[in-house]
């Protein structure tokens, strides 16, 4: 017990000291936390309390998010075992004379700590949830704690399922069918409710928020507990909290008592996780190697072009073809199109009953905004970022600017291609003006340029192009600063020239392009003075 306590305390203390050794990081974390607190409490003070909020929609979404995560974790556990241990735990703790249940408790505590970080990260979305669903910060926090609790419980349950099904293909199949079958029940329940009703959306909403779903184990119980508390129903909250706690305690007891030799069960999955992390560290280029595992024969090889710095561009084209045969048209393109169509359908359905339903142009603008927001996250795996992880970009004998430009051409072109496809589909569906269609593609592409420029500047300032975790907020601040010229042009276009939003958007795009050119010029030598650790 003493050794585990020592290990936990030491790790916590050293993590803190590590932060103090890097005051820049510490300040950034404090700044981000201050921003979260500020945004949450500013919203709270400005909010008008209108009584008990309508939680039907958010309750339905919450249930299915919990259910989806639960099924994913359980199935991954059934297939390959689930783990919250790391290789040092396996190598140093599992072989030690410490009691297995003590080590399990240590693993659980570690997992809970990481879940606290997940909750902090998700808190960033709390102002949006509060705004959209009229919730208080406390209610949002309860939802996030519920989510974190599910992530821990799901891993314990998946370890149990693995123990149950391990070693027999037939048992594994039965367990898989059982998990999928059980998960299909609430989905079918909601689908049936939607089809029975005249208004499909209202019918689905009614079924998804039904108290019957609260009786569904784990996801339903958690929703019942959280939303019971949110709606002030103490009895419901207590009942489901008791159920979920009882399930957790029983699961842990079963895991420890039923199979004290759980080491073998977690060893394989720990090794798989470790190898995946090492590969990710070694390759950190956003390449999904797991999808490439079984391709041994390269049928069409060669670059078909490139000389000096431009070789990076042709190499990236070659890699794109290897990832998928359509080159620029990748999974992300399909995802962007699906999100656009899905969002329009959702907006159409939700606004149908309103006194003033959304018009096509407003829906088009909403989808454009959402797509631009998502584009920001796609930039973390951009091709030019992957190049920085290998030494060649620094070694090739060409000017730094030419290497930087050629290495980022596909990164700049991808949003243009994706935008052209997604907004053409959207335009055909919504039948808005062709001018809006063209403007939206240009706006989307120019935001791609702005995001790339932000990464380049961040790399210039901090030596890394895509910061992880909460430090991403610093990058967001740089983005806001770089967006100022475009914003000013857009404001002039809208206020002084009285132009419509899409033409103001073009003014914004012009600003983005100018800023991007400026950043390339200002950071022309970043590959000559790298700090590749």
């Amino acid at each position: 017990m003493k050794s585990i306590f020592y290990l936990t305390c030491r790790q916590a203390k050293n993590s803190l000291l590590e932060l103090f050794r890097h005051p820049g990081k510490l300040i950034a974390y404090l700044f981000v936390i201050a921003m979260i607190v500020f945004s949450v409490f500013t919203r709270q003070s400005s909010a008008v309390v209108t009584g008990v909020p309508d939680t039907r929609l958010i309750g339905g979404i919450y249930f299915f998010v919990l259910l989806g995560l639960l099924v994913m974790i359980l199935m991954s556990g059934v297939k390959s075992g689930s783990t919250f241990f790391s290789m040092p735990d396996v190598n140093l703790l599992f072989v030690s004379p410490l009691r297995p249940n003590l080590i399990l408790a240590y693993g659980l505590v570690k997992q809970m700590t990481s879940m606290i970080l997940v909750v902090v990260f998700l808190m960033l979305y709390s102002p949006m949830l509060m705004e959209m669903f009229d919730l208080t910060p406390g209610q949002v926090l309860m939802m996030l704690v519920g989510l974190a609790f599910l992530l821990i419980l799901a891993q314990i349950l998946s370890m149990l399922l693995y123990n149950l099904s391990n070693g027999s293909a037939a048992r594994r199949r039965i367990v898989s069918f059982a998990v999928y079958g059980a998960a299909a029940v609430p989905a079918l329940f909601v689908a049936a409710g939607a089809l029975r009703s005249e208004n499909v959306y209202q019918g689905a909403l009614q079924s998804a928020s039904s108290p019957l779903l609260d009786a569904f184990p784990v996801a339903g119980w958690l929703r019942g507990a959280i939303f019971g508390a949110i709606s002030g129903n103490g009895g419901q909250a207590s009942l489901y909290t008791a159920l979920i706690l009882a399930l957790t305690i029983v699961s842990v007891i079963l895991l420890v008592k039923g199979n004290p030799d759980y080491y073998e069960d977690v060893l394989q999955s720990t090794e798989v996780t470790y190898v995946a992390m090492q590969e990710k560290k070694a390759n950190e280029d956003g390449t999904d190697l797991t999808r490439m595992r079984n391709r041994h024969v390269v049928k069409k090889g060669g670059f078909h072009g490139g000389w000096g710095a431009s070789t990076f561009f042709y190499k990236q084209l070659c890699e794109m073809r290897r990832k998928n045969r359509f080159g620029f048209l990748s999974t992300s393109t399909i995802l962007i199109v699906l999100i656009a169509v899905g969002m329009v359908v959702f907006l159409e359905r939700t606004s149908r009953g309103d006194s003033a339903p959304m018009n096509a142009e407003a829906m088009y603008l909403s989808v454009l905004t959402m797509e631009i927001y998502l584009l920001f996250f796609f930039q973390a795996t951009a091709d030019w970022v992957a190049e920085l992880k290998k030494p060649y970009i620094y070694l090739v004998p060409s000017s730094s600017l030419s290497r930087l430009i050629w290495a980022s051409v596909t990164t700049l072109a991808k949003p243009l291609v994706d935008g052209a496809i997604a907004f053409t589909v959207l335009w055909l569906y919504l039948r808005v003006s062709p001018v809006i269609w063209i403007c939206s593609i240009l706006m989307y592409a120019s935001f791609g340029c702005l995001f790339t420029a932000t990464s380049i500047l961040f790399f210039r300032l901090f030596g890394q192009p895509a910061p992880k975790g909460l430090l991403a907020f610093l990058q967001l601040l740089i983005l806001l600063v770089l967006a100022i010229p475009g914003g000013a042009l857009a404001l002039i276009a809208m206020i002084a020239l009285q132009l419509p939003w899409y033409l103001a958007g073009i003014a914004f795009s012009a600003g983005c392009i100018l800023v991007t050119l400026g950043i390339y010029a200002a950071c022309h030598n970043i590959l000559e003075a790298p700090e590749m650790r």
Binding site: T287, V297, W307, E319, Y394, V396, E531
Partner: protein
């Protein structure tokens, strides 16, 4: 020729390289030795142009970060850095295009042949074992026929055949007038072919000895190394 003068590199409060100076002449194999944490890897990364530093590093008389210097410089990193989605042959093609090489195919074939990678030409980078990745990394560095080549722990992970070939290649490079710098802490692995030994400790070059000096003085390289690295004394940088 590689010239490093007053190289100083600091990571926050850690002084990784403290006024490091040495030269590697054309047709000379220099080995950079030192215990773990001596500053070898930092020196290597500075020479490769991967880190910012104070001081001067010249490759054939040109600052190491200039394109002219990189054109004649080869680098084999300790951990092979390959593109997972390029085949073995495409790595050769990539280097030839990026370095703007003419008539490279025959040389590439010969290099792959020597490293027993000919039958792996169509394999993707991520499909290769660690040893094969190391061999391919070596081929990438050698394809542009560098005048200065630097290898960071090049023998780690190689099979006996590849070790033998690499040693032969290094001596061939020396005979062709190439300046070779090998970083290692495995003294035995370089015993047969070194010309100059650079011994580092605590971020400093503690001793520089040529093979001739060692042989004349009757000094033993291994004894010198341990006297410096374990007793904190024993020789001065020249």
């Amino acid at each position: 020729m590689l010239t490093v003068s007053n190289l100083t590199k600091r990571y926050d409060s850690l002084l990784a390289n403290d006024n490091v100076s040495f030269e590697v002449q054309p047709g000379e194999i220099a080995v950079l030795m030192g215990p773990n944490g001596a500053g070898k890897s930092t020196t290597i990364k500075c020479v490769a142009g991967l880190l910012r530093f104070h001081g001067t590093i010249l490759v054939c008389g040109v600052p190491n970060k200039k394109a002219q210097a990189r054109r004649v410089f080869g680098y084999v990193p300790e951990l092979p850095a390959l593109f997972p989605l390029l085949s073995v042959w495409e790595h050769m093609e990539f280097i030839s295009r990026a370095y703007q090489l003419q008539d490279w195919r025959e040389r590439a074939e010969a290099l792959l042949d020597r490293m027993e990678l000919t039958d792996k030409k169509e394999k993707l980078g991520h499909e290769l074992s660690k040893g094969m990745q190391q061999k391919l990394s070596l081929c990438c560095a050698l394809l542009p026929q560098p005048k200065v080549i630097m290898l960071d722990e090049p023998l780690v992970g190689l099979d006996p055949h590849a070790i033998k070939e690499l040693k032969t290649m290094l001596t061939e490079l020396r005979d062709q007038g190439c300046a070779v710098l090998v970083s290692t802490h495995m003294l035995d692995s370089v015993a047969e072919f070194w010309d100059k030994a650079l011994i580092m400790k605590s971020g400093k070059i503690m001793a520089i000895r040529t093979r001739a000096e060692i042989e004349q003085s009757g000094e033993n390289l291994e004894q010198l190394f341990f006297s410096i690295t374990e007793n904190g004394d024993g020789g001065t940088a020249e």
